[in-house]
């Protein structure tokens, strides 16, 4: 006969932590804790096989199950010295579901099962607290009626409310034991009336009812939908855990508490925890009573008596358990315990959540302690966590009034006076005022204002909107897509959903890591890159194979990135350079020129400035590889769009309003993302790319000639969809480069390559590789085109998609591996097939997102490139990728 029930109790356990598939996550954990000798309340697990058989056999349990449950129940009673249904020493149990992975939509928990009019007396006798006993009883009826008997929860809740009203009670706790006793009777009557059957008094009937409810809930519509969306097979099934209840609130020899084996916020190696005498677990969490410290390790004035003084024996036992746990799990643990009548029970242990600081300190110290090795230490720190360490953040102790929530678009925190346009931001910054730039959305025209501001707040746009991308590139805090704000440029004010009006000049604070907008100024703490952080990162670099470059457009960004460990520039966008100072004038002159000569004249003005940019960047990068992308955005981005701005520009450059307006209209596009941009501009106006290539090569030649620098510029052509585009532009670039090299009389090598950012480029990568010495995946645009999804417009539905599980994650944050990733893989395979030595990298925003970095490692890319402030994250993720393979 198959074994369907696994028993666990002090000293004897039939399952183990490895049997997750059979026992579910919760059941396996209980078995594991028991097997290492922790005093876990005894119980047993009905396996997932029962669930599978149940559905195979048209909702009938497999043969032998009843007997196996009976046996286990008997052992449980013996173990606890209590009896199911016994009026003196009643055994109460909890019944919980437990699939391999936790799953919403399923029945979760029934507590206090086994209570009836007889056993409630036993509880009263044991606890000496009738109010506690009847409160437990009425809660049990409510819970059972709702989740097992499937009665509307509202119905009994209303009876409770009615009772409170009659008694003039504000809180549940204002009801007396008598009230609750009466309520129990009312509840039972009502159940009878609603369902036409009595509430089950027989504990065994109760038990089978609850077990049946768990298995039944596996096929709930919500659970089915969840499995469908998350690709979980129905065959997995769920397990059911039945466990003895223990109570920390049966008298002063009872207690309950939570603890961490090390300090979760600093990582310091001492036993950290809190407890309450005569209390339930909820009481510690709910904050109704002030919890007491478990020990005096960090005793402070005013602290209540510590557990080590009040219950020295139990504390001694707990302290030993702490050691056992750290040795067994080799990681900091978060534990829950209960003491029932002087006996310690462990309810839970799991890896403890910790701050980034703590994670690093614990990992590094555990290596020193010989508990783990360097590789394990690396895997203990989540790459995303590092983000906390790389930006100033709000003082966690400070009070704050959050007035709106948006997307955490660029981490860090900043306070300043609200301004509503870029010019004003710049002006205020000149007057040494700190400002927050607030816009409905930003455009390239706002860049100078974004530079000047402390932080950026927008009402529209997603995680990869213009504001978000640029802010992250600048390492500047940004809250984007704060849709609930109404921004009124005319009145120069913003209004929150709650109707609060913030006028120009009032101070707000942004928390870019949490996406919060806060009224007034909130104190901040500066990031500390501690010695442990440096130690960890030195280990990281020993293991990773993927190189990490940065996306940087200026010498300043390049410097920051190098300090964070960047090994080159993977994306230097040249269009941002086009907006600065007087250049925008020359750029506009070029756009408005009637013919080639006019354009060339304007380009000649830009050439020396571009060359200067590249010299600065090459110098800062000291010979590391630098990939420069030629002009990418559509030309209309360089022209003003509103009539006022057009009029201003028209008069400033001495062109008629209507001429300029006509040009702006002529350049208008329905779908600029899919329009006349990238290499399409290079084909139409070869002179623009020629100028840029000339600037790049002159900068390189000049440094090589005069300063003895080694530089191999990587010239990158964007938005190639067909090999012929690249063939033509490559030929042009080679001609210009060779001419410059000849003029300077030096030897400079250079590479010419392309972005792979259109599906067609990935699909025909074999053809394209014939003309490209390197590929760089532009995963922002590749995601947009593969999904047919504009990141600027997706705000209307993408958040819903992610929340409801239609998409597992926002594809603009983490690479969509099955779609976009599939194209990347096709691109890699075909590219290498045509040119085995081709260099492969990624320069989309995803290059700094850990799961995407790991994916890139698996694809065998040579490098990832990300914004300067994410370089350490990418380095750590790259090491994770290697270590996860081992």
């Amino acid at each position: 006969m198959a074994k369907y029930v696994y028993f666990f109790a002090d000293g004897q356990t039939e399952g183990s932590g490895q049997m997750r598939n059979l026992l579910g996550g919760k059941g396996a954990n209980l078995a594991e804790m028991t097997s290492i000798g922790l005093p876990v309340p005894a119980g047993f697990t009905l396996t997932t096989d029962v669930c599978t058989e149940f559905y195979k056999n048209n909702r009938h349990y497999p043969e032998g199950l009843t007997d196996q449950v009976k046996d286990a129940l008997g052992k449980l009673e013996a173990q606890m010295g209590k009896k199911f249904g016994d009026p003196k020493q009643p055994l109460l149990v909890s019944v919980r579901s437990g699939a391999r992975a936790s799953m919403p939509g399923m029945m979760d928990t029934v507590l206090n099962l086994g209570l009836n009019d007889q056993t409630v007396q036993g509880i009263i006798d044991q606890s000496g607290d009738p109010r506690f006993a009847y409160d437990s009883y009425r809660r049990f009826i409510q819970m059972y009626a709702n989740v097992v008997l499937e009665m509307e929860g509202e119905i009994l809740e209303q009876l409770l409310e009615q009772m409170k009203e009659e008694r003039g009670a504000k809180l549940d706790t204002d009801l007396t034991a008598g009230d609750l006793h009466q309520l129990v009777n009312l509840f039972k009557k009502r159940v009878q009336a609603e369902l036409g059957q009595a509430f089950p008094e027989d504990p065994e009937e109760q038990l089978w009812g609850a077990i049946g409810a768990v298995f039944g809930s596996w096929m709930n519509p919500r659970a089915i939908t969840y499995r469908k969306l998350n690709d979980i097979p129905a065959e997995w099934g769920t397990a059911v855990n039945v466990q003895a209840m223990v109570f920390g609130n049966m008298g002063d020899d009872c207690a309950t508490g939570v603890a961490f084996t090390r300090d979760p916020s600093t990582g310091e190696n001492y036993f950290y925890g809190e407890y309450l005498v005569n209390a339930q677990g909820e009481d510690v969490v709910a904050g109704i009573r002030t919890p007491q410290p478990i020990n005096k390790a960090k005793y402070q004035q005013g602290d209540l008596p510590a557990m080590e003084d009040v219950m020295p024996e139990c504390y001694g036992q707990l302290a030993k358990i702490r050691e056992t746990l750290e040795k067994h799990y080799r990681d900091m643990q978060d534990i829950e315990f209960t003491i029932e009548k002087g006996k310690l029970y462990m309810l839970q242990t799991r890896g403890g959540k910790r701050t980034a600081h703590a994670a690093i300190r614990i990992a590094v110290e555990m290596v020193k302690e010989g508990l783990i090795n360097e590789k394990e230490a690396i895997l203990r720190v989540e790459p995303d966590q590092l983000d906390q360490l790389l930006h100033p953040s709000l003082d966690p102790k400070a009070k704050k009034q959050v007035i709106a929530k948006g997307l955490p678009a660029s981490p860090g925190a900043a306070s300043g006076k609200v301004v509503f346009n870029a010019d004003e931001a710049e002006e205020q910054a000149r007057l040494k005022q700190k400002v927050i730039l607030v816009r409905i959305e930003t455009s390239p025209e706002d860049i100078h204002g974004m530079h000047a501001a402390q932080g950026i707040l927008t009402a529209r746009g997603g995680m990869t909107s213009h504001a978000a991308v640029v802010a992250r590139g600048m390492g500047k805090c940004c809250v984007a897509g704060c849709g609930a704000l109404r921004i009124d440029y005319e009145k120069q004010q913003l209004t929150t959903a709650a109707g609060l009006v913030i006028k120009k000049g009032q101070v707000i604070t942004l928390d870019g890591s949490a996406g919060e907008v806060i009224q007034g100024d909130v104190p901040k703490v500066q990031p500390e890159v501690s010695g442990d952080f440096a130690t960890l990162m030195s280990w990281v670099d020993k293991f990773r194979r993927l190189k990490v470059r940065t996306n940087a457009d200026t010498p300043k960004d390049s410097k920051v990135a190098r300090e964070f460990g960047a090994e080159g520039i993977g994306l230097c966008r040249t269009e941002h350079m086009f907006f600065e100072g007087e250049r925008i004038q020359a750029v506009r002159e070029m756009i408005l020129a009637a013919n080639l000569d006019g354009r060339k004249k304007a380009l000649a003005k830009i050439l020396p400035m571009q060359k200067g940019d590249f010299i600065g960047i090459f110098r800062e990068m000291k010979g590391l590889p630098v990939t420069i992308r030629l002009l990418d955005p559509p030309l209309h981005e360089f022209l003003p769009q509103t009539d006022d701005d057009i009029a201003e520009l028209a008069s400033s450059i001495g062109v008629g309003f209507s001429v300029l307006k006509e040009k702006v209209e002529e350049l208008h596009e329905f779908n600029p993302m899919l329009g006349h941009r990238g290499c399409r501009l290079g084909i139409t106006y070869p002179e623009v790319y020629d100028m840029q290539v000339q600037a790049i090569m002159e900068a390189a030649c000049e440094l090589v000639k005069n300063q003895g620098f080694q530089i191999v510029p990587e010239i990158m052509i964007p938005l190639v969809g067909h090999v012929n585009e690249l063939a033509i532009l490559r030929e042009n670039a080679v001609q210009v480069s060779e001419r410059v090299i000849e003029d300077y009389g030096v030897k400079v090598e250079y590479l010419i390559g392309t972005m792979i950012e259109l599906p067609r480029a990935a699909l025909t990568a074999d053809e394209i590789a014939r003309e490209a010495e390197f590929f760089s995946y532009g995963t922002n645009d590749l995601t947009q085109t593969t999904f047919g999804l504009s990141r600027d417009d997706a705000g209307r539905f993408l958040p819903d998609y992610v929340e409801s599980g239609i998409l597992p994650r926002d594809p603009f944050v983490a690479i969509d591996q099955s779609g976009v990733g599939q194209l990347m893989q096709i691109g890699c395979e075909k590219g290498r097939q045509a040119r085995p030595e081709i260099k492969l990298g990624i320069c989309g925003e995803h290059g700094g997102e850990p799961s995407s970095v790991i994916f890139c490692h698996k694809l065998g890319l040579d490098y990832v490139s990300c914004s300067p402030y994410r370089v350490p994250i990418a380095r750590l993720a790259a090491a994770h990728a290697v270590l996860q393979e081992e």
Copy 2:
């Protein structure tokens, strides 16, 4: 020793028509004509191997070539009874390049080679026409200096112009023999001065010079670029053809002419042709002299003497050749001939171009004559040609003044008064006025005007712009993207590039097949679907495997399509229905509703109208499959965009201007193509799709119940990118459908499927197929996303891309097989892998384009769907696909 030279002459030929790779296209043709006994002027071909060897050996000819050429030249002299360089009977030759495929950028032709100061005397003696002799000589020098000696063509041209000026001559023909003789001397002096060497007088030197120029031109930059863009390997090489010149203008026993073995415009089986006594080939074409008919088959009053009367012997020979040719080539031929001193020479024969009428008649009659079989007949008619037969067209004999050219967006011809807005078009139509709707571009708001107009003219937009797509769907003539027109709505006029102003109410004519805009009214001819056409189509249906459906949104379109042979509807767009009459009001009400209840109320008004639409269409299709696509476009397409229109709507529905304006702004999208549309709307507003599904199923149930109709509606969900979208919407649709079926108490089957129009859908087709019973490739959007190319914006560069060969064809016209097609293939393979019985079709515009239809056949799709007027084209292409495989 390898054979490098292939000789051909009356009765002896070393090559054949099969040796295209070795002899090039031209050389193979000459060999073929000779081998079937045609009197071709003798000559010889230097093989492509010579070219390959030439470049392998650092531009040296292979050993033995000189001798082989000498031998061949000797045979040629013997054959022609003339001698190279002989002052009495000089042999003149032409030298032509000839690769496997004709290729721009290469040296084309040198004529009259062999002329010098001695041999020109021989020509004078033979022709008795010194003017002709010297004119030939000076032309030879010009041509040779330019293409062989690589002198600027301008230089000698200027000397000619100078001479004409001095002589007061208007035309070249006004110069005398003396003038031309003098010019020859001037030319030679100038060549000496420019190049520092004399013009070669030695015919052999001339010959080797020309041969070298042909081989040299194979590596011209232009030729290299062309090969690169068209994927032609450099190793193919070119051949060189040297052929004796013959002259039809050496006296009255000479002549030249062109003929077709059947009438190329009607297809009638008689010998059709024209000739001129004592003339060159150019004279017939140039129209300086009026050519004479070759026979009296269709003699008309005023016709000049026929060749059969004037040169009966030669005509007899020619008539026999006609028979030989038709028997040999089994197709109508287009021939060129020359008679030199009573001897007939065949210069060329090739498959003759013909009208669609002629193509069909010839094909059908040749089957009756036993010349070809049905399969061959089908292959003789180009599917695209049928377009001519399916629309009214301009009377080819009518005079017309073309004032602008745009894209031939939707075939047919129409005349009418110019109007500049849709309402006016409708009003004029009500007054029985024929109008042409002229817009900068059209939007869904213009549809009623497009319906009312005879034809549509737009200044912007490509072959798949809104105007073009809708017009083709309506079978209405349209010229789109006529960029040179300036359209001024305010002044209600348009201005052509030449400055011609056409005001509202003036009449213009559109030729949608040619893309021409013509001043005034031009007479038209109605299409004639002759009996031969029907015969051919019946053969077509015997062989094709691909089904052909139609894209139709109305009962009227459905009817037209069935008459053209459609076997179902592959795409019924429901959004067009949303614009009609009072519905647009209800649609707007729904969009503006503040909540679900409001939306449901508005949808309830639309439901009965939608149901009526579907009943009409189901009835018309008589049980054939009908695929209905649920709402696809973004909601803002249903709202007005300009302030004036917003104000008008606001007052008509009693909503504040600012409320409506705000909604319009809220719905604004940066990239609507990639925005909140398709199934994304269905996810956000499930009630909209629910209403549509209800309308479809009620219509089906009602017909099944009351009229005993068999209907299996195919419900199509658009723009799916992730299987989860489809899973949810499918579930909703099933629920609604089952409810309706239960309500009606009838048995109706239905299919639920999706468009594959995003790269991600194709890439994850295995997942999607789990939820889809059919796929329909939406190749319009799939092309846009795969290329990252907005069809509405591509007009700025796509035409250049096609013209310069960067893209072989416009991917919105013919499926881009290597990119978009690759995704389709991935989709088919993965889809079938997950669901072997899945139904596969295409409903993009490509479904009516022959090369795309053939591609779909190769992919193994079940059907293609196209606009009603292209159904016969798709049927024919589908048959071609099968026959090409055999």
